[in-house]
Symmetry: C2
Subunit: 327 residues, 2 copies
């Protein structure tokens, strides 16, 4: 697999906009490309660059205010598609396409698909979608591609916290992409089977066991009911800020006689929660922290929806996957 | 030991200033006081509070820009003394004094002091200094208390990165306080003996082995000389930003044919450096990261002074402890 960094386009953008100080932000898997990119920009333009060395987990995770104080006036953000954010500094997004050969995988996967299939993917692979749709059609497999909400740049694209492109009438999903992070979210969010076509590992696999996930969530809510003090986490990353919701939840908890506080956090880590010492937490920041990392934490962490079950405003049967959707 | 949180003063400040949204920041050792403090403020005033759940290692570590975007208009910062910073939001500092009985310790320590002694301490214990001076004088021990630079609020006070209060004509130092963090810095910075009077553990101990520290620093510089790519770390915490210096160092390294880039970082961690993949780093952020945590990192990290040795602008015998002083 090759990551094609559009270096000439980036140089062109910088020459046109003539910024004083440029920040380069890349997700973890591309961080090692930063040194060469920065070197090339400084050679070919007269601009100083700063590479962002902090983790970058998505288009929601834009370093903005903290760079404005340093005089940064342009952010080059690689590896994610644009989502609508109010940023202080101008951000130019470059998504990175991964080139791979899928012929073998498509032959394999057709045997596993028998009902109507929703095609989903991440930004790195969205360029493969039409070709896959065509080949599946040649094998008499019915497919549909959903259009997500305003956070979603391309048809069929999913984010870690936004599966609005799955809101279509299908029986199962075929996810084209690497890892289990996105398709796990789709399975938990939709309760439908998800088959993964992984171009990196060149393999087909399935997401199973969504029932077990739900059981764990119910157990976590039940555990949180025993709490006396509850910390409501307000994420401070640019695209993860749900301030109004965090304050509402705190006020609601107080009415139920919980001692509740809003806590700002840039990254949520087990150690930070341990230091604060609350009995339970409601996380309004990145939903995936709540779901994927629960076993790393000693105390129960709930989503906003689960908080509603906790205080009795939502029925236990109405458990929903927490997403950050944008109308 | 008792931490006296000046809760009435804090309530009074908030009533006077009538902010819309208050952030409460406490160092790690006091984080557990946050819940009660927030509860009291919200009960007694009509103000919403946000507790900062991110780590806070000093008065340099003010969350400011990232809170401005949330609408915070007053920061209550506990546990550190004020240092002069340009902040976007108004910050009110409350230092927290620790009450302890020192009579036994003073009797013990007089036996260990025979030359002229510089008295040093942290903000938590500065109120004890005059009494100790008096008692040592009664035992015929000569003492001096230095006045630090503009970052230093009280006579004899040291910070983790600023030992300007040690610039006095003495043979040894007596440090009143807990832990080894500050007195280790004093020993490395001054190369003079440091005796610790620890009110928490109720014990007297000494800092030894400063020679070994220097040897390790020389070894680290020698290792960094083999690097081909060097990352220059620019800390983004409010009081740790040395942007001009970071850019100067990058330019200097480039002249010596190193491939060098400036990297912004909020917190420096082994994993973040591993992701970036440089052969060595120069850290212009918190000096203590460079010194105290080296063994946690796989690659050599140097201070700005050590960088000068690396590129040949400073003599090897002229190794100095990196401090952030403020004229």
């Amino acid at each position: 697999m090759t990551h094609n960094i559009p270096i000439n386009q980036i140089i062109e953008t910088i020459k046109q906009r003539q910024p004083n100080l440029v920040s380069i932000q890349l997700p973890e898997g591309l961080k090692r490309k930063a040194q060469k990119l920065s070197e090339t920009i400084e050679e070919k333009t007269n601009t100083h660059t700063l590479i962002s060395g902090d983790p970058c987990y998505g288009a929601c995770d834009i370093e903005d205010w903290e760079l404005k104080k340093l005089g940064v006036d342009l952010i080059i953000h690689l590896g994610h598609s644009e989502i609508p954010l109010n940023t202080e500094i101008e951000v130019v997004y470059y998504d990175i396409q991964l080139e791979t050969d899928l012929n073998n995988l498509i032959t394999q996967v057709t045997k596993k698909l028998d009902k109507k299939v929703g095609l989903i993917t991440t930004i790195q692979h969205h360029h493969l979608l039409q070709d896959i749709k065509q080949k599946l059609s040649e094998n008499n497999i019915k497919t549909a591609i959903g259009h997500g909400d305003n956070a979603i740049a391309k048809p069929g694209q999913v984010l870690g916290c936004n599966f609005s492109a799955t809101d279509i009438d299908v029986d199962q999903y075929l996810y084209i992409g690497t890892g289990n992070f996105h398709p796990t979210g789709v399975a938990y969010s939709t309760n439908k089977p998800v088959i993964i076509l992984d171009p990196e590992k060149q393999e087909i696999r399935e997401i199973k066991d969504t029932e077990n996930f739900q059981k764990k969530r119910y157990a976590t809510i039940a555990k949180a009911q025993k709490a006396s003090t509850i910390g409501v986490i307000l994420g401070t990353k640019t695209g993860q800020t749900r301030k109004k919701l965090a304050i509402q939840i705190k006020e609601r908890l107080k009415k139920e006689e919980y001692k509740a506080t809003v806590i700002t956090m840039e990254e949520v880590t087990p150690n930070r929660l341990l230091q604060l010492g609350y009995d339970a937490y409601i996380n309004t920041g990145c939903p995936r922290i709540t779901y994927d990392d629960q076993k790393r934490y000693r105390k129960p962490i709930l989503t906003p929806n689960e908080h509603e079950i906790l205080v009795g405003d939502r029925d236990w049967s109405d458990l929903k996957f927490d997403e950050i959707r944008r109308k």
